[in-house]
Amino acid sequence: MEVGILAYGGYIPQSRLQRSEIAKAHSWFNPGLKGLAKGERAMANWDEDSVTMAVEAARDCLADFDRDQLSAVYMASTTFPFMDRQNAGIVADALNLNSSLQTLDFASSQRAGSGGLSVALQVANGGSGPILFTTSEKRLTRAASPLEMTSGDGAAAFLVGQGKVIARLLGSHTEAVDFVDHFRGEGEAYDYNWEERWVRDEGYLKIVPAAVEALLSKTGVTAAEITTFCFPVAARGVAASLAKKIGMPESAVADNLQENCGETGTAHSMVMLAQALQNSKPGDKILVASFGQGSDALLFEVTKEINSLSPRKGVSGYLARRYAETNYNKFLAFHDLVNLERGIRAETDKKTGLTTLYRNKSMIQGMVGGQCSQCGTAQFPKSNMCVNENCGAIGTQEDYPFADRVSKVNSFTADRLTYSPDPPAYYGMIQFEEGGRLMSDFTDVSPETDIKVGMPMRMMFRVKDYDNKRGFRRYFWKAAPAGASNKGE
């Protein structure tokens, strides 16, 4: 049986910070940034991290797929929220998966994304059940650094396995070279970068061709046959130079999404792959190569199954869900790059009882409520006694997941008193169409969103609170406008 990709998904946060605004703020200090000031970069909301973005990409990827069939969940990132607590496990929990599952994190390199996918394909080739592979990045960058301009936040997910693959794996190859173009040492928040010209000439243009050429030679596919070449590096013209050097058609060079998203770190080769699949047709040959202490190269051939894949947002869909953010100060505040006066209300201790969390894990992380087996009433949270006043049965609640159900706004407010990292705090009563309701935090309410009673909402997995004192963060679900803003400036 052939192994390959069964489905893809993508996620790009709604806000797109205008690069011209970043450049403008730093023009006094580093006028050279103006050269990078075109377009916009994806900017995670304050309550998003690489785990929450991976969850969204995974939901997009899995669509109507039977999640019980999954044998493993992998996650790749260099910006995991937890150094010791498996991040893939949080993703699996948010997807409400059962515990009979392999979970694993891939880290420490800009090659973690491509390497993770490569490993997932190898494991799936060994005959395990379908594997969910996610990769996500929310990079911290110093103010006025080129990386601040070129980076973006985002995630991709793939369902990998055997059977009706939409893209069959033709082969893969890895060159492992400890070429240190940048690094981030233990306890450091930011990257340390070496000269770009050296990285280009000795890194990209030497190491990547070695990997790609080895792959082509292994698979017997010629460079001229490649339909799409995904190479994630932000630097201008590098992918085209590589294509030319290797002999791939100029038309094969995929858009690196620098204009409308930015480079999503280790996830970016995979974000580009998801995008390539979304734009592909049967027979296309997609070659994806990464760069980071060597290079991974993977070659896929798109099958006719791509035409029967259920609809999804993908990278394109999330790129279209867009708000043009022009306030660079907000970006600084979200990334703690400015010492903001947050007020005494922000001092409230956000300690989480780990016992409390574990006991209520499926309710909190999976948003599983209850449905009464006697009267059918759905409710959140689940309780011993049915909430229906005409029923009130005890012990009849069966698990009832709410995360993927659509709700409507019953009442709402925009609160400027309560502490929020992004005031005003929007929240309100949401009511699920098939029953159940929640006084819920709202998220991704852009200044252009006109919240109204009756507006449809969709749940999103987000950071509920940061416990900065202890380095913990707790997650829960929030309601976001379902037909979110895609208007521009």
Partner: protein, 401 residues
């Protein structure tokens, strides 16, 4: 068949501290201020008090746990003292404890005292605090104004009242309470304002501006209760009997079941129905002389006019704008300034409302005394959030009414 509380217990004496930002006073000082007035008013000795109840909401900001702080402040002679907490209805709960104790015959004279010392947080508004280890995991990041503000969006959607009309009626409520507060020497806020000022104030939680929110105050109020017979034997000419006392707590229906539309208080309606029945009131719009409601926010007062069955559902705007609830209107609401201007020291508020009804019944309300002699005075005290709360209603009245 229970006969209810009607006429079984009467108020013997009451006291209330000045409300406000009492920067130089501890909770103990406020308690003493209310207690001394109440004891003098009752005309009894401390030794005649047989049991006491302390109502306070956010005790961690001032007295700490238990009833001991009351017992120590008043140096009570080792009598039973109980502390109660039920959100903003804590003061009413203290009163209920004392009244029930007397009604049951367990004691002849009981005391209820509510206190709150809030202005020690370093910022305006209510103290931000945790809400329980499980709740903190999933409750929305809601403040009090943000929770109550939502009544406006739901009411607007249900009754087709425009946001502008709502804002105007809410503004009228606040202007009226400031007018009333200006005539009350114990009130926290005594300045007069106008509707434009309310409407143009900075937004706190949409659609509330600053003047849609009540004051956060320090203060204390105290009641001493006994039976009408004992009151008379002690020489009281006009003790004020309790006609009804009802409490209703949410059971999760509003928060979790789609039968509630978010535009009214389930609990207020339940408590009001029972209270009117207990007091023998059949037509509240004709029989209630004046009342104090829990106007923590202008919209709370707004919807409560309907939930107490005084304004018809969907018609509160008209009554409010027509001055029906003004001090010189048909049924004055918050004649003392309400939570809005008298102030809202949580544990004291329920008792403060009863204090005003007590004074009005006895014709002792000074400059703000209602000219028409009141027959029934009602208080409505609400704690929590519109979607999960407790509502307490107390009706006092003339003897024989």
């Amino acid at each position: 068949m229970a006969s209810g509380i009607r006429d079984k217990v009467a108020i013997l004496g009451m006291g209330c501290s000045k409300f406000g930002e009492r920067w130089n006073d501890n909770a103990e000082d406020l308690m003493i201020e209310a207690y001394v007035e109440a004891l003098e008013d009752a005309g009894i000795e401390k030794s005649q008090i047989e049991a006491a109840w302390l109502g306070t909401g956010i005790e961690e900001e001032h007295v700490g746990k238990s009833a001991v702080p009351l017992s120590m402040a008043l140096r009570l002679p080792n009598i039973p003292v109980t502390r109660v907490e039920n959100y903003c209805a804590s003061g009413s709960e203290a009163f209920r404890g004392a009244v029930y104790a007397v009604a049951s015959g367990a004691c002849d004279i009981a005391l209820a005292l509510g206190v709150e010392k809030l202005k020690d947080t370093g910022y305006g508004g209510l103290p931000q605090r945790n809400r329980g280890s499980v709740n903190d995991l999933f409750w929305a990041n809601a403040s009090a104004p943000g929770s109550f503000a939502q009544l406006a969006s739901a009411y607007s959607a249900k009754h087709g009242v425009s946001k502008e009309d709502m804002k105007r009626a809410m503004a009228h409520i606040s202007v009226k309470s400031h007018d009333n507060g200006s005539r009350n020497p114990k009130a926290h806020l005594r300045n007069k304002i106008n509707e434009d000022k309310v409407i143009n104030a900075p937004i706190i939680a949409d659609p509330f501006g600053l003047f849609d929110c009540c004051g956060v105050s320090d203060g204390s109020a105290c009641a001493i209760v006994t039976t009408p017979e004992i009151a008379k034997s002690l020489g009281k000419k006009d003790p004020v009997p309790v006609k009804a006392m009802q409490l209703s707590a949410s059971n999760g229906t509003e928060a979790q079941h789609n039968s509630w539309d978010g535009s009214y208080f389930v609990t207020t309606r339940a408590a009001a129905n029972r209270a009117y029945k207990e007091a023998g009131i059949t037509k509240p719009r004709d029989q209630i002389s004046l009342f104090e409601v829990h106007d923590c926010f202008s919209i709370t007062e707004f919807v409560t006019m309907e939930d107490l069955f005084i304004s018809e559902e969907g018609n509160a705007v008209n009554d409010i704008m027509n001055g029906f609830y003004d001090a010189d209107g048909k049924i004055p609401c918050q004649i003392d300034g309400g939570l809005k201007c008298f102030g809202h020291p949580i544990g004291a508020s329920g008792l403060r409302m009863i204090y005003e009804m007590y004074l009005q019944m006895q014709g002792r309300a000074g400059e703000r005394q209602r000219k028409e002699e009141p027959v029934f005075g009602m208080t409505h005290n609400l704690g929590g959030f519109p979607h999960q709360n407790v509502c307490s209603i107390t009706i006092v009245g003339k003897e024989g009414a």
